[in-house]
């Protein structure tokens, strides 16, 4: 099977850095897939995307994008991909239209198709009313949308996006994802990095990066299903006492506050979750506390993230 993006044993060592930014980074993404890269800060997400987008070419191992080697034939890769760096990278003194025109021309959109293509992109990203505004005067969310429009204007087969939704309000984020869903529907392969776990859940495949290598890869359901833990959601008042009791309960693997509740991780083996729930119920009753919620919940991407990263950190 031909992959739209394939990286094999990529190692990237920055000069002067102790540990490599990427170590044996491997990834294979079939065409038409929306793939998300998640991982803690400094895991190497941006480095990996830069290598795949042919921005950086000093690494060992191999990587192909849209069927071309990123090092041997970067120009062929470049004419087939759209890339959106993490920081705003358009010209603030040019207007929305001028920026779009500039990248349409550079990326070789034929002259006769250009106006129609650009109009479509503006329509698609909802920027039509702002086409005369200077890019520097756009809001954060609109800047991201414009960057996305510029990355898509030449109809690339592969789209690489580095944290497109960071620093964007929830409404704009949702719109950004609606646009991405459209793009994917038209058969474009999308590789995206994101710090938001709810976004990761919307991807077809997720690669979890930790210290430069891919720890887990699969569909969100697969990954979550493979996790050897179950989760309890707890809410009791007073909160301080609730925390005390949870901390002192033996067998709890991890816990963290989510909103006004605590999310408690227990081992998967039979009866463990029930045992802890009974223990907590008894404890709360003994202290005369009111229990509002104490039930098992479906694990989410965020649980997987905390579980995996936590396990890695305990090991090292």
């Amino acid at each position: 099977m031909d992959f739209a993006i394939e990286a094999k044993d990529v190692v990237k060592q920055f000069r002067g850095a102790e540990a490599p930014a990427l170590r044996n980074f491997s990834l294979a993404i079939p065409p038409g897939t929306l793939c998300g890269l998640v991982g803690p800060d400094g895991a190497g997400k941006t480095t990996a995307l830069r290598i795949l987008a042919t921005v950086s070419n000093s690494f060992t191992g191999s990587a192909t994008v849209a069927g071309y080697d990123v090092r041997r034939d970067p120009e062929s890769v470049r004419s087939r991909i759209g890339y959106m760096p993490q920081t705003f990278s358009l010209y603030p003194d040019l207007t929305v239209w001028e920026n779009l025109f500039f990248f349409a021309e550079l990326n070789g959109v034929p002259k006769e198709r250009r106006p129609e293509r650009m109009k479509t992109m503006l329509e698609f990203t909802g920027l039509t009313p702002f086409y005369e505004r200077r890019a520097g005067d756009l809001s954060g969310g609109m800047k991201k949308k414009l960057a996305l429009a510029c990355a898509l204007v030449h109809d690339p087969r592969v789209l690489i996006l580095d944290e497109p939704s960071t620093g964007v309000d929830p409404v704009s984020r949702r719109e950004l994802w609606r646009i991405l869903a459209d793009v994917v529907r038209r058969g474009v392969t999308v590789l995206i990095s994101t710090p938001y776990m709810d976004e990761a859940e919307r991807c077809h495949r997720i690669g979890m990066l930790y210290q430069g290598s891919v720890l887990l890869i699969g569909t969100p359901q697969e990954l979550i299903g493979r996790m050897p833990s179950r989760f309890l959601e707890v809410k009791a008042s007073p909160r301080k006492a609730m925390r005390q009791i949870v901390i002192q309960t033996p067998g709890i693997l991890s816990w963290r506050p989510v909103g006004d509740r605590l999310r408690v991780e227990t081992a998967e083996n039979h009866g463990e979750l029930e045992r802890i729930r009974n223990h907590l119920t008894d404890q709360f009753r003994e202290q005369g506390m009111t229990v509002e919620i104490l039930e098992e919940v479906k694990p989410m991407m965020e649980d997987l993230f905390v579980h995996t990263v936590g396990a890695q950190e305990r090991r090292s």
Partner: protein, 377 residues
């Protein structure tokens, strides 16, 4: 080719879009020429002079009068003692001083050699000081000569007396020794150099700093297209400024082009191309706009002002400094501009000394910059 035009158009937008940038680029060079052109007042005259005449005789008054009637010196103070005279020099109230000792008149009358003492401010520009010293000595010689002829005319040999040698000098090219004919043709190269170098270096480094370079790398634009597209608009700006400076030089300061105008323009284009190439080379070394400015100023611009021959002659430079000055395009260009504008000489006299080296190093820098320019962040 299409990419080249795309990049050029974008670069013109950058220049055109921001009125302040546009004003800086187009007006600042002209303003600088006006400021510096008027600032240079020409030759030193009316140098403030302190005289301490302790002799107070007719002879001493006649002697000091010779200095004061000349246009070179102006009476600033009369001091009553050597101490007062030194105080005045300390406080910068005067540039030079003459002390006439009490026995001046007596000695002259008795036929002995009288002595006078000159004081000069050694903390000022050495050439300036030397000029003042020469002027003092010249007037002094005249005074002595007058005294001698006076004496001799009263002797029996008077009738057969005449000056053995008389000299005449003719100043070529700039007969009135007008400082402007020296400075205006010197300022034009420096102004063009500053602009061509900084604008290109900054234009490229800015893309790196604002993150747009990362986006450009991922487009199929070729490095040479990107580079040429960025510098051609600045070549146009440079040529525009050249014309503005030449026009101002002529109409405001009366300094025209004595030699071939179009040869000057053609060689200016060569010079600007070389300077733009240097700018690109600097942008390759610099990660930020601040670094680009530092490199430009310290590696090229200050040496261009000091070593190019604008202010100091290059003949007596130590070898290393001399070689460095030869590597600066502005050194050769300065010689060409002065040659063509002031002396009106042509290619036949300038070819080996200035034109050929300018072409070689300008093309050299330009080719090097095209080869060294990489699409990278």
């Amino acid at each position: 080719m299409n990419h080249l035009i795309t990049i050029m158009r974008k670069e013109v937008f950058h220049i055109w879009r921001d009125p302040r940038t546009l004003a800086l680029i187009l007006l600042l060079p002209a303003m600088l020429l006006i400021l510096l052109g008027y600032g240079i007042s020409g030759e030193r005259n009316k140098i403030p002079l302190v005289i301490a005449d302790l002799s107070k005789t007719d002879a001493s008054r006649a002697y000091t009068q010779k200095f004061l009637v000349s246009d070179d010196f102006a009476w600033a103070y009369s001091a009553l003692s050597e101490q007062e005279l030194l105080d005045l020099l300390d406080r910068n109230e005067a540039e030079a001083a003459i002390l006439i000792p009490p026995d001046f008149g007596e000695s002259l009358d008795a036929g002995r050699t009288a002595k006078v003492q000159f004081y000069l401010n050694g903390s000022s520009d050495p050439t300036d000081m030397q000029t003042i010293q020469l002027k003092l000595n010249a007037i002094h010689q005249m005074a002595v000569q007058d005294l001698l002829t006076d004496k001799l005319s009263r002797s029996p040999l008077a009738s057969s007396l005449s000056m053995p040698i008389e000299s005449f000098s003719r100043v070529l090219y700039n007969p009135n020794s007008d400082q402007r004919w020296f400075m205006i043709p010197g300022l034009i190269p420096i102004i063009l150099q500053v602009q061509a170098l900084l604008l290109t270096a900054l234009a490229i480094v800015r893309e790196r700093e604002q993150g747009t370079m990362e986006q450009l790398i991922v487009t199929p634009v070729k490095p040479w297209e990107l580079m040429l597209g960025k510098i051609i608009p600045y070549l146009v700006v440079g040529v525009f400024n050249l014309f503005v400076l030449l026009i101002l030089g002529y109409f405001l300061f009366g300094v025209g082009v004595t030699g071939s105008f179009w040869m000057l323009v053609a060689l200016s284009v060569v010079f600007i191309i070389g300077s733009l190439g240097l700018g690109v080379l600097i942008s390759n070394l610099a990660q930020s706009q601040m670094q680009a400015i530092y490199l430009s100023v310290f590696v090229i611009l200050i040496p261009a002002i000091i070593l190019s021959g604008l202010m100091f002659p290059r003949d007596n430079m130590p070898l290393l400094t001399y070689i460095y000055s030869m590597l600066l395009p502005v050194t050769h260009y300065l010689e060409i501009v002065r040659g063509i504008m002031v002396r009106g000489i042509g290619a036949e006299s300038l070819w080996w000394t200035a034109i050929f080296p300018l072409i070689v190093i300008s093309i050299g820098y330009f080719v090097a910059s095209v080869l060294a320019f990489k699409k990278r962040i």
